[in-house]
Symmetry: C2
Subunit: 282 residues, 2 copies
């Protein structure tokens, strides 16, 4: 496995072979979710590359950029064990350079949910992913369903700007108790960690009600609020039943829906989601 | 020469050969300026392609989108005579599709000059050129120095977003009397056309003063204002002596400068520029 720091090294590696490339963009501190993306990429593509870059542009000024967990040696070991061909670990300076001033902004699908709670977040994501797409020129890029709105935003960006890359969205990896894997889970204290599976229980409650015939968006939201309220450590930020393509909040009867939520457990912000009525996001 | 309407046809043509491609993006109604870009691209690149698309996203609501001159048969004849290999003539629907909502925005270099007079213009330009770069994947793209700020904005965008394309800026083509060639010159009435060379005379006045040792930005601007004021049909919008990289307006002594101006002649808006202290923009 090749580990490089500069764009020029990535480009040189890329030019050396025109075999299809699968890209897994990450912020490091890898977990089983990331590795499942790598495995899927290895199945799909002759070559696989990952990037590890904690992207300042997608963090708000009040957010956890400074404390975001990092462990590069461990990450490289995990990626090497999965057979990744190249890893790019740019510095901030290498990524953004001097006088950086160009932004990629996705409008309506980036506005609700995470976009409403994290102003500028998706602008940072769309911009850095555009740059990654230009540096790597991958045929496919892999993202987790856990960050469902990110997947929708990047799919929209890819279509709108005519990137010739396929966005592949892979299932959320979960701990045995249902907690969605996230690098931020490491922030949780013991009590918070014990409480954290309530997110998935709330989503499962909505799923089961849906399977039992419940189609009222308000009813599904109410069910989830009730489950979350029963856990005193949780402070709910939003509970949403949204159109899976437009991310518009739904009212009345729904046939397909992205059901998602965001909560604080102490200072740690967690998100999770399921899609009702079929399939992953695309 | 192949003439195609869809992105898919462009991509299929592109995939059929990996020879270096030079792209000339245009809004059609071609003149000698466009053709000089084509010739330069033909000299530099094994294959050349042009696009003809009057891009609504770069016109303000009060601007001349509806009346912008168009003559596709003539344009295709000119491009064929120059030996262009492929021309893409997309419809608005093909270019933007449904629910388009992703924009590329360049910040500080897009704010003064044309950006101040034409809000949203460079957002439209940067977005459509990003799309063209993704559809064509050219090695080089050719733009005229006449639209100097556009060249600076696109160079900045290309660096910031890591596009692997070289932006080539070619000299402004001029009529015998010095008027910079522009598709919009066709709007000019006979009296306006006779008055129009005053733009270049004003720029030449500044150039000659600079060559004679004048280095005061205010003095250069004043000289140009005086020349323009002597022509009663001209209404000056701006006269600028700016840093050629940052486009910040300069005060005091200048060694290099982008000297530019924008005027109305009746309802027709014209721009022109020269670079003092060496070379084209890069």
């Amino acid at each position: 496995m090749k580990v490089v720091q500069t764009k020029e090294e990535v480009r040189a590696w890329r030019r050396a072979s025109d075999q299809p490339l699968g890209l897994i963009p990450t912020m490091g501190f890898l977990h089983e979710g990331h590795l499942s993306l790598v495995r899927r990429a290895r199945d799909d593509c002759a070559r696989t590359a990952a990037s590890i870059f904690v992207n300042p542009a997608q963090f708000g000024s009040e957010e956890d950029l400074e404390t975001y967990p990092r462990d590069l040696p461990r990450d490289l070991g995990l990626l090497e064990a999965e057979g990744v061909d190249l890893v790019w670990t740019p510095t901030q300076e290498e990524m953004y350079g001097d006088e950086f001033q160009t932004w990629v902004t996705v409008e309506s699908v980036a506005q609700p949910l995470e976009g409403a709670e994290r102003p500028g977040h998706f602008r940072g994501v769309a911009t850095v992913v555009s740059k990654l797409f230009h540096v790597f020129e991958p045929q496919r890029a892999y993202f987790g369903q856990k960050d469902a709105q990110q997947a929708v935003v990047l799919s929209r960006m890819t279509r709108d700007l005519d990137f010739s890359v396929e966005i592949v969205v892979c299932p959320t990896a979960r701990e045995a108790d249902g907690l969605a894997m996230s690098s931020r889970n490491t922030y949780l204290g013991a009590d918070e960690r014990r409480a954290a599976p309530v997110l998935y229980r709330a989503l499962q409650g909505a799923s089961k009600a849906y399977e039992g015939g419940m189609r009222e968006a308000d009813g599904l939201r109410l069910l989830m609020y009730e489950t979350l309220l029963a856990e005193p450590l949780v402070k709910t930020q939003y509970v949403s039943v949204a159109n899976p393509e437009t991310l518009e909040e739904q009212f009345g009867v729904v046939e397909r829906a992205l059901v998602s939520l965001a909560v604080f457990l102490g200072k740690t912000r967690l998100i999770d989601n399921v899609v009702l009525g079929g399939g992953l996001l695309a």
